[in-house]
């Protein structure tokens, strides 16, 4: 019971952090809670996700990935509020939750895209902290 209690508290805290600008969704909250538990396992002493770290991660040019896709912005564009474009010319809906409330509510979908895009941009899988920061950042925009 203690774990679920901790999750509930986390959800409440995150809700306070993010709920002011984004529409809350229990499925998204569950995804974040799971990532938080994983991040704590990966990094003992890890406390909580940070939107500013996520925003920096989104803008950064990363090493180790493919030359054509060194940053999230390569396809998603400079602002998560706007549409992006795939290399094959398809629109990508905005990443910010305020513009696209369906974002980060389907766990399999979230996993699929992190798996693919972290490989392409970073040349490795993302850590739970990177994923959590990313989603937290997108919830605040």
């Amino acid at each position: 019971m203690r774990l679920s209690h901790a999750i509930a508290v986390t959800i409440a805290v995150l809700g306070l952090l993010a709920g002011s600008t984004s529409s809350a969704d229990p499925r998204r909250d569950a995804i974040l809670a799971e990532l938080l538990a994983q991040a704590k396992k990966e990094e003992p002493g890890f406390a909580r996700f940070a939107a500013d770290r996520g925003a920096a991660f989104y803008r950064a040019t990363h090493q180790g990935g493919k030359a054509g896709t060194a940053s999230c912005t390569s396809c998603h564009g400079p602002s998560p509020l706007d549409k992006g474009k795939t290399r094959a010319g398809k629109d990508i809906e905005p990443m910010a939750v305020s513009r696209n409330p369906a974002r980060y509510t389907d766990k399999a979908d979230v996993e699929k895209w992190f798996t693919r895009n972290c490989q392409d941009v970073l040349g490795r899988a993302c850590t739970a902290r990177e994923k959590g920061d990313f989603i937290t950042s997108m919830m605040g925009q």
Binding site: K66, T69, R87, A88, G89, K90, K112, R116
Partner: protein, 373 residues
């Protein structure tokens, strides 16, 4: 009309026959221009020129039975002796006079009729077999259509040579007989030297002609209606929208109809999704299997459309990329790179930007509409 002493003016070509001749000229020129010069999406006009030719020849056949004397086929069927006589006369530069078609001209009429008939038949076979359009779409296979296309081309070459021969013949005959044959087919009157025998002409039977034409038109209509009701064979099936395919593959690129790649390409491509055109496109095992089996079972080999037949042949060094296939490159060679960069197109793989029927996999010539910007 001014005439030399003793010359006789005879009404030879009746109005329907003159109209037929010039409409035929119009349709043949139209067919040649749309067949050789006009862009692909003019194919509809070419096909209508063909249907017009069928109607026109149907009419001429009937008028060849019930028309005015010189329009009747029996009036210009000559025994070989007369034909030889006329040819000999031509060589000696003094061909004997004939009121209607002369024997050599009659030969040309029959030859032209045969070639035009051949063009119509092969055209319908190409339309049905290759383009999967028209009355024979459900009946004729692609390979027959491809063969017919070669015949259609060579018959056109033959027709061009015969048109040249026809014009040369008209000029030669006009000079040698001092009778302007072109004026004849415009006004209907021919000038004959004194002493030329003019038989009493049989008059036209327009009511009978109209009745026979009506019968032929009804027969053609019934045949076309019957053919159009034939169900399309499985090789022309229309695939239902695959929701998973649209969602997973369509997220990044236009979701190509599976008939655009052979089964071997789809199978290999689906087993290498981690390296998919320079990106990681991996999917979970079950989804990958489902999509791969759907793609393979609807691959190019299972369709008989033109694109499926042509794109079965892939580039050896780039077998997954539709836009690297020899046929794709050939068909798009005349499209300037600037067109692919337009806002409405963006990339070479946005097929539906220009091909309005891309989702069906048909890629009809008439369905091409290139965005202006």
């Amino acid at each position: 009309m001014k005439a030399a002493a003793g010359d006789r003016w005879v009404k030879v070509w009746d109005r329907p026959t003159r109209l037929f001749h010039w409409l035929l000229v119009l349709l043949v020129v139209g067919g040649i221009v749309t067949g050789f010069v006009a862009p692909e999406w003019w194919m509809g006009v070419h096909v209508w020129a063909g249907y017009g030719l069928v109607a026109l020849m149907g009419f001429r056949l009937v008028w060849g039975i019930f028309g005015f004397e010189y329009s009747r086929v029996v009036s210009f069927v000559y025994p070989p002796r007369d034909t030889l006589e006329h040819l000999k006369g031509l060589l000696l530069l003094r061909p004997p006079h004939h009121v209607g078609h002369n024997p050599t001209g009659a030969l040309m009429v029959f030859a032209l009729t045969g070639v035009l008939l051949g063009l119509v038949v092969t055209g319908l076979l190409v339309l049905g077999g290759e383009e999967k359009q028209g009355p024979l779409a459900a009946v004729v296979g692609y390979s027959v259509g491809a063969l017919a296309k070669r015949a259609h081309f060579w018959l056109t070459m033959l027709l061009l040579a015969m048109v040249a021969g026809h014009i040369a013949g008209v000029v030669a005959e006009s000079l040698l007989t001092h009778d302007n044959l072109v004026r004849g087919i415009v006004t209907g009157w021919k000038k004959l030297p004194p002493g030329t025998p003019v038989p009493s002409p049989r008059s036209a039977r327009p009511v009978l002609a109209a009745a026979l034409l009506a019968v032929l038109a009804v027969a053609a209509g019934v045949t076309l209606h019957g053919l159009s009701r034939l169900p399309p064979p499985p090789s022309l099936r229309v695939l239902a929208r695959n929701v998973t395919y649209q969602k997973e593959c369509g997220a990044c690129h236009y979701a190509f109809n599976p008939s655009l790649l052979p089964a071997s390409s789809w199978a290999a491509l689906m087993s290498t999704l981690r390296e998919h055109f320079g990106e990681d496109a991996s999917l979970d095992g079950a989804t990958t299997r489902d999509l791969a089996s759907w793609l393979v079972s609807n691959a190019a080999e299972t369709f008989d459309t033109e694109s499926a037949n042509r794109l079965r042949v892939v580039a050896a060094d780039d077998p997954y990329r539709i836009s690297s296939a020899p046929y794709w490159l050939r068909k798009h060679a005349s499209v300037p790179p600037e067109v692919f960069a337009r806002k409405g197109v963006r990339t070479r793989v946005n097929c539906h930007a220009c091909h309005r029927d891309a989702e069906s996999g048909r890629y009809d010539d008439q369905a091409i509409a290139i965005p202006k910007e």
